[in-house]
Symmetry: C2
Subunit: 195 residues, 2 copies
Amino acid sequence: MVREKLTSKGRARRDQLLRTAATLFAERGYHPTSVSDVVGALGVGKGVFYWYFTSKDELLAEILRASHHDLRRRQQAAIADEADPLRRIECGIRASLAWFREHREYFAIIQFAATDETFAPVLRQNDDVALADTARHIKDAIIQGRAVDQDPAMLARAIHGVIGRLARDFLIERDEPVEVVADLAVAFTLKGLAG
Amino acid sequence: MVREKLTSKGRARRDQLLRTAATLFAERGYHPTSVSDVVGALGVGKGVFYWYFTSKDELLAEILRASHHDLRRRQQAAIADEADPLRRIECGIRASLAWFREHREYFAIIQFAATDETFAPVLRQNDDVALADTARHIKDAIIQGRAVDQDPAMLARAIHGVIGRLARDFLIERDEPVEVVADLAVAFTLKGLAG
DNA sequence: CAGATACTTGACCGGGCGGTCAAGAGGCTC
DNA sequence: GAGCCTCTTGACCGCCCGGTCAAGTATCTG
């Protein structure tokens, strides 16, 4: 049984489990990492896990939700005081890349979850929010005559494709500086959008 | 023990297993699909599987190898009689998108394999070949002064990011016509490359 | 027809998995 | 110190997985 009421000690344990699991899932993959591995890495009994989570699946969903929430906050903060739609896109890209670099562990998990029928729905929901944001900025730019008049939804996904790929290949795998990658990503996508 | 000598009947069985497994892996995922599921879907005994493959892992690696080989042939054929580097990129994009659409089952598997430590190496090797091709065309375009003078390797990955994302979202998930998606992909990436 | 070779069967095995639970431990409150 | 609630332990359970193999069947060769 999972308890709803947690003391501060309990909340700390929960976070610890979340972080440990995220790291292990990122390193070895979700399926190959057992619950025993997770609690073993913390040196605690298996029961601890099931005190805080109902199942292994629920844990992953929780990781997905938490990480998306964090990324989104970062994006929002970055574009908060920008009025220009193209500048908003640029700031969003830079913020996202910086976040991915700082959270490699989440990146790998998100990539995996996208390929698994069980978790894809949770992920899609998250993704759709970010996509809608980008699409809105693109639409604004089109109205101002500063971007091609093409389906904003499709353009948004093209942009996210560039970001995701560059993040994986240059920030996660190699460890290139964010700025270098971000500069190319911004230049490439903004030109791609141009009318 | 896996036999090397196969009769035509044997080769047919092997292909049958390969195709059935690819479909199931794409639908339910690699780990959640058991060897019993695969042979069960064909209505044959488990021993049949281990007559043709040494392990489940080897089977996936084989699927990866075969699909990459097929995609690559398609790309090569498409750009064979194009001299212009930018046109070669365009043709490569169109061929890739068409292939992905016709082979949704491989697409999902490739996406998964990229997230798994065990299979990522095989995949990377494949990917590097395609990436090197694209990068070469970009370099040619730069020399001709028809593309920005930026790291071709990075630009190539940006392009592949666009392709992969649009393929997944519009060809595999929704079932949009290749031409519509390809037109946007080509326009976006070629503008992105422009100097 | 004999005998080799190519294939097929499915019961079986060891092991590890996700998940449970009775039995406590530690720390509040009154 | 009694009672309570949060948290922890780790042996244990049933299940199913990847993989094996002795036995058998089809097919081809001479």
